[in-house]
């Protein structure tokens, strides 16, 4: 079990009001799963992702990642987890505007213990994985939205994280670019990457193996994705192959 959330609550106190952004979430994710989280606005998806990404701490409950209890970790240890185990992709890309693509991709290496050797090589390899090797020297403002998000994905992948977390990665993109990103995610999943994404789009969720619906800070439903002939065909084929291997 890669991820085990037990009784996770996140409570915000705004003035006199108490907001239960997460209200008792239990969730387990295995290695090499591709999970999509859906749900109405304000249902707690981002809050959950931030906790999964160790960017935020739950008010109650425990989060076990790859056998480690994150709730007992201090700031430095959490930083190490974020650096080594987690790749986070943001809806708004969050690239450093003055850095070239390759420098943006290399940013996490700055904070890795073995990040100094072959830094540029690794960053270029990561860019190649998202098919952007030819844009290495470009700055974010010289890239399209889809390219920016691919740079961000390359950055998330550079330390070979256990999980790739993406909070509405296609939220700022048009449908054609969305498809590019989806293809990339499916391909990464096929290569063995564990992925959890948050999305509002049914097409996007259809690429995943498993869809979780959230409502009012709780998990409303959690089921395997129904076959979708268009977008899901690639994934479906893969899932079949997986289950055959399992048998």
């Amino acid at each position: 079990m890669l991820i085990r959330l037990t009784g996770i609550k996140k409570i915000y106190q705004v003035g006199v009001e108490t907001i239960h952004a997460l209200d008792g979430v239990d969730l387990q994710v295995d290695a090499n799963e591709f999970v999509a989280i859906m749900g109405p606005s304000g249902s707690g998806k981002s809050t959950l992702m931030n906790i999964l990404g160790c960017l935020d701490r739950p008010t109650h409950g425990t989060y076990e990642l790859a056998g480690e209890q994150t709730s007992r970790m201090g700031g430095s240890a959490l930083a190490r987890v974020r650096n080594q185990r987690i790749g986070f992709v943001f809806q708004s890309f969050e690239l450093m505007p003055r850095f070239s693509a390759v420098r943006n991709v290399a940013l996490p290496l700055t904070y890795s213990p073995d990040g100094w050797s072959n830094r540029r090589r690794k960053a270029l390899d990561a860019l190649a994985r998202v098919n952007l090797a030819d844009r290495a020297a470009h700055r974010p403002n010289q890239l399209s939205g889809g390219q920016k998000q691919r740079v961000a994905i390359a950055r998330a992948l550079i330390n070979q994280p256990d999980i790739l977390l993406a909070d509405e990665p296609t939220g700022n993109l048009d449908s054609r670019t969305t498809e590019d990103i989806l293809k990339l995610l499916v391909q990464l999943h096929r290569e063995g990457q564990t992925i959890i994404i948050v999305t509002h789009e049914r097409d996007v969720a259809a690429c995943a193996q498993r869809v979780i619906h959230m409502h009012d800070g709780r998990i409303h439903s959690d089921q395997p994705v129904e076959q979708d002939p268009d977008v899901g065909s690639v994934v479906a084929a893969k899932r079949q192959r997986d289950s055959q291997e399992a048998v």
Partner: protein, 419 residues
């Protein structure tokens, strides 16, 4: 292995942080320049003052080399080691008989006088001078100090042997006591003793550099008289035959005095023979005061500069909140963020320090060509550069600390949400 690699990572991290900081500073050129102005001015001022004092000092050295190095000041001294290190001042002080026969035994010494100083009240009729300088001298003094008797006569050997109550005065004393121009044969009271004036000594040569020794009222009496009446500590002044043999003279006097003061071969000297150091020390005391005052002024300007640095760093942290959030999200430890901002503050201050040193250097070049300022030898010593630079960096550390801690303590999620 990891032990070996850690310093390497640190060095690279440091280098990258510095490059990043330089990039950041370059991006905000105007702001950075304005921020460091306080530090630039402070450092420029203090390096210029130090350069001026250094130049003045070497001028003085030069002046002495030209005209005064044949004078040897012989002064009692408590050594740091050996059996005299805890000896009392009374044990260590000179007695006149220790110098008997010095001139005969030291061929490089041309002249020699014992000298004792005291301050006392000098009275003539209804006029008096409080705290006039009363100096006991021997006949050779006039030659050594180059101050001859213009009216009347110097002391005779007889005056010395008898410890006679005779005196020489300088024109200042004469004027203050309203004595006649030629006042030989008149008498004055020093304390309650009556002294006969036998002559007037010419005033000391005015030096451009020193508060003059011969300023104020001076009365000279035979050394033995002084010894009997005031019993103050005595020193000796010897003049070598020429500045060239000054080192020989010093060695001879030392050898002679070690014998008369009955020092064993392994005892350290219980006296010092100084050529010009005494004056230099006097100058150094003044210089230290000036440096301290300048230092205080610079301290204030560094403080003001430091507050400016802190302010700009706080602005920088607030502007780059999202960047900090991102860096934390990809795994920057709080310490790494702290370090990055601290390095930036230190880099900023160090650049200010460098600019200040450059400014001080320019001022130094300027004062060197200033006519009549005696500063042609002014230069900034290396230690001053190091100290100025070090202090600027320290200001960076001190005032960068708070903004850096603020950055390091930011919550990643809140930082990323920042607009």
């Amino acid at each position: 292995m990891s032990l070996l690699r850690t310093p390497f990572y640190l060095a690279r991290f440091l280098l990258q942080s510095i490059l990043l900081a330089l990039g950041q500073i370059w991006m905000n050129k105007t702001r950075s320049v304005l921020t460091t102005t306080g530090i630039v001015i402070g450092v420029a001022a203090v390096t210029a003052v130090i350069a001026a004092l250094t130049g003045l000092r070497s001028n003085i050295l030069g002046e002495f080399e030209a005209l005064g190095t044949n004078k040897l000041y012989i002064i009692p001294y408590r050594p740091d080691t050996g059996r005299f290190q805890h000896a009392s001042g009374r044990t260590l002080r000179f007695t006149p008989d220790q110098f008997d026969g010095l001139v005969e035994h030291c061929p490089s010494v041309a002249g020699f006088t014992l000298l004792a100083d005291a301050a006392d009240k000098v009275i003539r009729g209804d006029r008096s001078i409080d705290g006039a300088r009363i100096t006991g001298i021997q006949p050779a003094w006039h030659e050594i100090e180059n101050r001859t008797v213009t009216l009347g006569r110097p002391f005779s050997l007889l005056d010395e042997q008898r410890a006679a109550y005779v005196c020489l005065i300088n024109p200042e004393t004469r004027d203050q006591l309203r004595l006649d121009r030629d006042c030989n044969g008149q008498s004055i009271y020093i304390g309650n003793r009556r002294f006969l004036i036998v002559g007037v000594v010419e005033p000391a040569v005015q030096s451009a550099l020193f508060l003059n020794q011969g300023e104020g009222a001076e009365v000279f009496v035979p050394f033995r008289t002084h010894w009997n009446v005031w019993q103050s500590r005595l020193i000796a002044i010897a003049a070598s035959q020429s500045p060239d043999v000054s080192d020989d003279a010093r060695a001879e006097v030392r050898f002679f005095l070690r014998q008369t003061r009955e020092l064993k071969p392994d005892d350290p000297d219980t006296f010092r023979i100084e050529v010009i150091e005494q004056y230099l020390r006097q100058f150094d005391r003044v210089a230290a005061t000036i440096t301290m005052v300048a230092g205080a002024i610079v301290g204030v300007s560094l403080l003001v500069g430091g507050v400016g640095i802190m302010n700009i760093m706080l602005v920088s942290v607030s502007e780059r909140t999202r960047e900090i959030g991102l860096r934390k999200a990809v795994g920057a430890r709080p310490a790494a963020i702290l370090f990055q901002f601290l390095i930036e503050a230190v880099t900023l201050c160090s650049l200010g320090g460098l600019l200040g040193i450059a400014g001080g250097w320019a001022l130094t070049l300027l004062m060197a060509v200033l006519p009549g300022a005696q500063l042609d030898k002014a230069y900034i010593p290396l230690w001053a550069i190091a100290v100025a630079f070090g202090f600027s960096a320290l200001v960076g550390v001190f005032f960068g600390m708070f903004p850096a801690f603020k950055a390091a303590g930011l919550d990643p999620i809140e930082a990323l949400r920042h607009e």
